[in-house]
Amino acid sequence: MTLTSDAPTVPSDAQLAEVALTRDEFASVVQQLHRQPNAVELGILGALWSEHCSYKTSRPLLRALPTAGPRVLQGPGENAGAVDIGDGLACVFKIESHNHPSAIEPYQGAATGVGGILRDVFTMGARPVALLDSLRFGPLDEPRQRHLFEGVVAGIGGYGNCVGVPTVGGELYFDSCYRDNCVVNAMCVGIVEHGKLMRARASGPGNAVLLVGADTGRDGIHGASFASVRLDATSEERRPAVQVGNPFLEKCLMEACLELAGDPRIIAMQDLGAAGLCGSAAELAHRGGVGVDIDVSCVSRRERAMTPYEVMLSESQERMLVVVHPDDVRSVQEVFDRWDLHSDVIGTILERPEFVVRDGATGVCALPLAVLVDGAPERSAPGPPVQRVMTLERRVWQSPWPPGDTLIRLLASPNIGSRKPIFRTYDHQVGGATIVSPGTDAAVVRVHGTRRGLALTTDGNARYTALSPRRGAAIAVCEAARNVVATGAVPIALTNCLNFANPELNEVYWDLHEAIQGIADACTALGIPVVSGNVSLYNESESARIDPTVVIGMVGVLEDVERACSAGFARRGDRIAIVGPVEGSLDATELQRLAFGINQKMAPELDLDLERRVHGFVHDAIEASLLHTAHDCAEGGLAVALAESSLWGGIGVRVDLDIAGEERPWGRSRVDGILFGESQSRFLISFAMEASVQLRELADRHSLPLQEIGVVGGDRIVIDGAMDVALAAARRAYEGALVGGE
């Protein structure tokens, strides 16, 4: 076949900018192809060589992540990771960003983000059983930020609720660094029998390629390259890039694909995501070491007069590629017909590893897959390593408010207050498996047909990574693990989403490098492998860039879901203790941000060995049925953790931290550090008085400090010598944090 598309010419700078390729990359294309690409090929190369598809900057860095482990069935490289959870079942999960589309159109951007991550999971044959989200916006009191926030939340609910997958958890922060670039990450978790786990690897020359689902329109053309450039004034003009999702179609597609999971007729399945048909067909063939020949004239369209280029790069949602033997085409199509899903045979698998696109008899593109998928030159550091320099605008020793007042303000902070206004709009129960609902630490979802449960969480405090990328990222892993451990589960694997600014800036590049090292540090220390993830770069505008934002999505396994431990105080008279460090500083805390609008010095200390021992202690204590509740201490420190456990359980607390009489300035600062400092590696536990001795022994065995600090009861939060706050007042502050002031 000869290519009859426009004659190859040397593209102008403007043409290269259009397809988001650099002059050097173009030179590399020509060198690898031994010829000039034609215009369509250039566009296709631009999309697949975009950062979004090729990971040209992050791939070399991601190699540092530990990805192996005894439970790992599928590490990074497929649509989602998969780990063994016993009983012949696997848990399949991944997190993904949809930041750029959400900044342009919050509802649809977030909704299609959910749609995309669902497809990544059911493409593997797994039934999605849970969704989680991780969101970041600018200050909530700014109308535009509230608009984005409400739109994104409605979009996530709108899609997930309609598809019938519960949204069981997530996290939310507001910080001025996200004003122009919100962060919208969605995670999906699915379950599949080992034998039905599917892979997206095409094989068998002559096999047919089916395109199933929505008709193809001009949606999101350039979406991939769009996500690889920063937002500027002209972003508005790229608006046709916005896609409108159809969750109803997704639900039908999901059911049909799950019906076919594990079916020997299905050779491979791959969802359509970034760079549309190009990205998916190319990856599908490349993973299988074969080629593919696509005829765009066979693709059903929603719009008239689409060019082959538009058809290939359209990011219309709710579409799937399926590879089957030609003899099975009819019978497989019948399954899709039953669900009223349209399907077309649009191509064939080739033996030679080539990516061929034709429009009927006319050739449009013929590129070696090795060049298309793997050819993008990896980018290395723009310059020598840089360390973040700690800024010290002003020393912060103590809160400007008395402790009780400080607590109320923290509880009313949109970063800490109740998330109920959000998750009550998410169906978090469909599936009949949600044992621990959103709102406390990790959610717990039971695995139907077994006694087991999965503990699920997303975490990542960007205040820490902003100051100390490496330590901050390690803390994100530890915090996620703590949330999982607090339920009694054992963390088994994680997924991660790295949201950063422009990596062509040396500082950003090194932040990314450091953050990945930090994830690796914690994963190695805790023995938790990384099985999937996503990188979102160029989260910056002309005036601002986001703080390095590492989001960890973690899965843990609970052997007996009936014994899941909760975080809200359970019984009056229970003793309360803190395991791990008590003292802390106010650096990098929510209080520092709230009171002074700054975030300075360094992220809290992190001792990974201590962290590991603390997890071991909590796990053993829950297993031995010694605990009534467990809760980790995160934003807002010990005081907020106490208030949360009180509010969730509806019972007050009386605590003696031995701080009464600390009146001198130095003393006040120590008190505030204890109450509101965010020291790592600690848990707040409650238990029956009789368990006290055993817990002490257990702590000794793990070489851990355990300090009994108080008793559950009453209807006030009392910390002797520091505060006495009515639970009702705390609740008002906590529950009003996200509610808009009219």
Partner: protein
């Protein structure tokens, strides 16, 4: 004076309209086989105070720009502006 304005907000022609697809298919299944396409939009009826039709129209256009229409995916048109019975009286 009081005016009643009718505004239609529709998805831009290039934007996917899942509702329209379901309605089209639903109608066909009901035997209305002649239906070639359906698009679903919003119809907004506003009652506004303004000194003249011109003023009412301008103010409604501003409302569309600011709130009623999401220009990223939607277009709007003002179908009619007329004085209410009350306004006329």
């Amino acid at each position: 004076m009081t005016w009643v304005a009718e505004v239609v907000v529709q998805l831009k022609p290039v934007v996917n309209d899942p509702q329209g697809l379901v309605v089209r298919d639903g109608l066909r299944r009901l035997g209305f086989t002649g239906v070639r396409a359906a698009r679903i939009g919003k119809h907004v009826e506003l009652e506004v105070e303004a000194d003249s039709e011109q003023d009412a129209r301008e103010s409604v256009a501003a409302m569309c720009e600011k709130l009623l229409c999401n220009p990223v995916i939607e277009d709007y048109r003002i179908d009619s502006v007329r004085a209410t019975a009350e306004g006329r009286a």
